[in-house]
Symmetry: D2
Subunit: 163 residues, 4 copies
């Protein structure tokens, strides 16, 4: 099984910029995270953008969809900011791509203490290999389908859509 990891940015990859005191993007942590996790899955990393998901516009979401469609792998992980992860999941889900695609991110950057990044990465990669084709969000230890997932901003957790 070959897996493609599409990196788009989000909280998970932010780092502290000591010049201005802001959390920003420098470079992705995934090569380090993959090594640390001793991953033996055939995994190809591809950084397609490094964006805060609040700054993502249609063009970029379309590019993510295209990247899912055009890559050779049938199993795809996507890192994504949590704020609009469900929007991107929906767009991919409505695109009728016959692959298994799991989005994930983190509530706290990998480079900040007490981060959930490594856990979410593990959960996403473990699930990906067992799921039917479709689009999913893996956060909080759960795997939720693209058409029934929302971020509860008050609680900071991903959940089934409350009707």
């Amino acid at each position: 099984m070959k897996v493609r990891l599409l990196i788009t940015g989000g909280t998970i990859d932010k780092v502290y910029n000591q010049s201005n005191g802001e959390l920003e993007f420098d470079k992705t942590h995934f090569p380090e995270m993959v090594k640390r996790s001793r991953v033996e899955v055939d995994l190809t990393l591809e950084e397609i953008m490094l964006l805060d998901s609040l700054d993502m516009v249609d063009k970029e979401r379309d590019f993510i969809v295209d990247s899912c469609r055009s890559c050779e792998e049938d199993f795809i992980l996507i890192t994504h900011g949590t704020d609009t992860m469900c929007d991107t999941a929906r767009l991919i889900g409505e695109s009728d791509i016959d692959k298994t695609i799991v989005l994930f991110g983190a509530m706290v950057p990998y480079a900040v203490s007490n981060s959930d990044a490594l856990f979410n990465f593990g959960c996403a990669l473990g699930s990906l290999q067992l799921l039917e084709s479709g689009v999913y969000v893996a956060m909080n230890g759960r795997v939720l389908p693209w058409d029934d997932v929302e971020k509860n901003r008050a609680l900071g957790v991903f959940q089934y859509i409350e009707s």
Copy 2:
């Protein structure tokens, strides 16, 4: 879905004892790890022992099997030292328990830098919820069945049994 996490010790839970300079057990890190990972799964932690898996004897393995059988949950995670994880997986696998059971651990303690503990926990929990009943080992980002998994000591990775 209710999940039971049976804690048995292993490298993942070792801590540094500054009195003697050894890595030993003090108390499990899982309450902290669960919180940090923002787990929303219905997860019950149970520490049944804190042992180096090289020190485990038959009586203790039997107790793990009994704990799997007697707990009310149908989905069970087991933390375990890596050295004899496959032995315990085999014993449970041959016990005909009709539940989904995933063993995991870490090559580097959670309390030591560059640990794979959180990744493996995520991978195990994510997989557990998607697997058919059976016994599995989740390490290195892969989920391997109890009757086809071995630890390659030279490489420090879990793999399918080489024939």
Copy 3:
């Protein structure tokens, strides 16, 4: 020797707020840092404010000066944001308080990976006990007097004033 540690905030004590993705103040890390450092000095912690030093105004600086003067200890550490640390040092230095006072902070928050917080704390506390009365800034492994220290923003280091 009794030491007072006056906590005023600054980068050193910022934490990640997962609700808004900003680095903000929650509570000081110094009780944890002192314990971790196994400090045997008679040290009293006092949090007098938790401010970004760019947000500090005259009233607050005056309060810091008053706190230095009024506390019973003759040896005082002050945590401070780096942006205006030298301004506050100057104000205290010009106040003719006959005590030994060392200001320090961090370029990277204690809660962010690769932080200099613990090193700077050690450097400040070690120096404090050996210095003549006066006001100093301890950063980058050096101890510089209040009337000859500036922050070089381009390099992100504290240095003697370039003439």
Copy 4:
């Protein structure tokens, strides 16, 4: 002021060996620690050995004394295991070397969570630059002279010799 940092090993530099589960030496962390601490002092690192201080014999202690005497710097830091740090300090102290020499180490390895390594390094480097010539131990936030320091094994702290 030029400072020489003589690296001899000790707990501070131990790392986890995932092959055998032991804490051992691989390579020193000081280049990383110096960078992280943003040290602006003129500091030359020299690794002269990587030993558990319980394994140090006379020949090695003599080599440390010789290294102190022969290096060009008048200000010397020495990393050292805590168990026999006071013995080595005494040997150097009795050697009549007219330099300022500060020994330090850590109770918990730099690579293990909750380590005091960075704090002790800061304390040692800050103190070194302010001390008269002589031999000192910097641990627990205090600087103690070679002829009046002992490790209290029960408490795990360095203290003045109890008479």
